[in-house]
Amino acid sequence: MSQSCLDCPQRPDRVFCDLAPDALQEFDGIKSLHVHPRGTILFREGQPARGVFLLCEGRVRLTVCSESGRRMTLRVASAGEVLGLSATLAGGCYEVTAEVLEPLQAAEVRRRDLLSFLREHGETCMHVVHLLSEDLHMAYDRVRTVGLVRTRHSHPHGPVLTH
């Protein structure tokens, strides 16, 4: 397990991680590394956003829930992704629940530290904008499969529903 982002061999392949050395050094200082077992809930839908989770290794299931408790999987996030980004930037609540699917190493950054970091390192903000665009593309894909499938068929298929 890499402790420092500077030593991480995956770094060049990951949008957020491929930062300039000085920015990466500072990022090392504001992150805290944690290992989470399968089944851990990183954050819940509706919870005020406290920070982001950069997935170093492992996978996380992102779900949304109705008032009656029915749950639907939005997608599965994998290593290299940053979870909770939009909610943290907007200062709102997490839009989804994030549940660890396999043992996870994640770098967690508190909201205020992330915002300061982004203001000081403008080029990192562009990385964040790219990540958010990717998140949005995936969300629109999901809207397409969920919304347009249901207009064609009387029963939904595609989304994984649980009660």
């Binding site: 829930c65 403008g122 958010l132 593309h137 809207v143 347009l148 249901r150």
Partner: protein, 240 residues
């Protein structure tokens, strides 16, 4: 200057009266001056298509006046309206940033003023102005929130009645109406368009409205819809 569509065109962002109230537009003066040099202010009539789902992104469209319908389409022609964009919103943003095709089709439902910025100019502008980059990140975050909300609503609602009730409650929460005993809202969309928003048929929407009026949950006064029984509508929104 008046355009052919009756719009009072806003020539300069620097003197725009709405600037402070709009997330993207409220930039420092230096950034806004730079933005002025790369934007093209254009007027469009109702029914104009700004961009089409699947088209290569050529730039962003800042909506200054008017409203735009954002929709996605299935291969068989079925359409789902994702939302109605309001002034202040930046359209085509994620496509322009990522370089991927526009994910939605944008069609004006009012005469609109739009500031268009070419993709390369916009990306250069963001690199030079980190404040603007931050604003873009905030706008993308909002759009993501809306998309998640849509997935939840479309994927987890039991029935069309539940989805329609949710939509009406959401619309009535704007402009301070939610605090009123009997909130009012102007129905700007046809039954067909409302059906496209909630993934059902026009006939179902018409039937649902008739049922809600019969049960005195809703009342129409001209083009205004009055919610007579908020509690009943909320109950429908959670249980269908």
């Amino acid at each position: 200057m008046l355009s052919p569509y009756g719009l009072d065109i806003i020539e300069s962002c620097l003197t725009c009266k709405m600037r402070a109230e709009r997330l993207f537009c409220d930039l420092p003066t230096a950034a806004l001056q730079s933005f002025e040099s790369i934007k093209y202010a254009t007027a469009y009539p109702k029914g104009a298509v700004l961009f089409v789902e699947g088209q290569a992104p050529r730039g962003i469209f800042v909506l200054c006046k008017g409203r735009v319908k954002l929709s996605i389409c299935a291969s068989d022609g079925k359409t789902l309206i994702l939302k109605i964009a309001e002034p202040g919103e930046v359209l085509g943003l994620s496509a322009a940033v990522s370089g991927k095709a526009y994910e939605l089709t944008a069609e004006t439902i009012d005469p609109c003023q739009v500031n268009f910025v070419k993709r390369d100019d916009f990306l250069r502008f963001l690199k030079e102005h980190s404040d603007a980059c931050f604003k873009v990140a905030e706008q993308l975050s909002e759009k993501y929130n809306v998309a998640c909300h849509e997935v939840r609503s479309l994927g987890l609602s039991h029935s069309a009645a539940e989805k329609l009730a949710k939509l009406l409650i959401e619309w009535s929460s704007r402009n301070g109406e939610s605090q009123k005993q009997e909130p009012r809202l102007k129905l700007a969309l046809t039954h067909e368009e409302i059906a496209q928003m909630i993934g059902t048929s026009r006939e179902t929407v018409t039937r649902l409205f008739a049922d809600l009026k019969k049960r005195q949950i809703l009342q129409t006064k001209g083009s205004t819809l009055v919610i007579r029984n908020k509690a009943a509508l909320r109950s429908l929104a959670t249980t269908g």
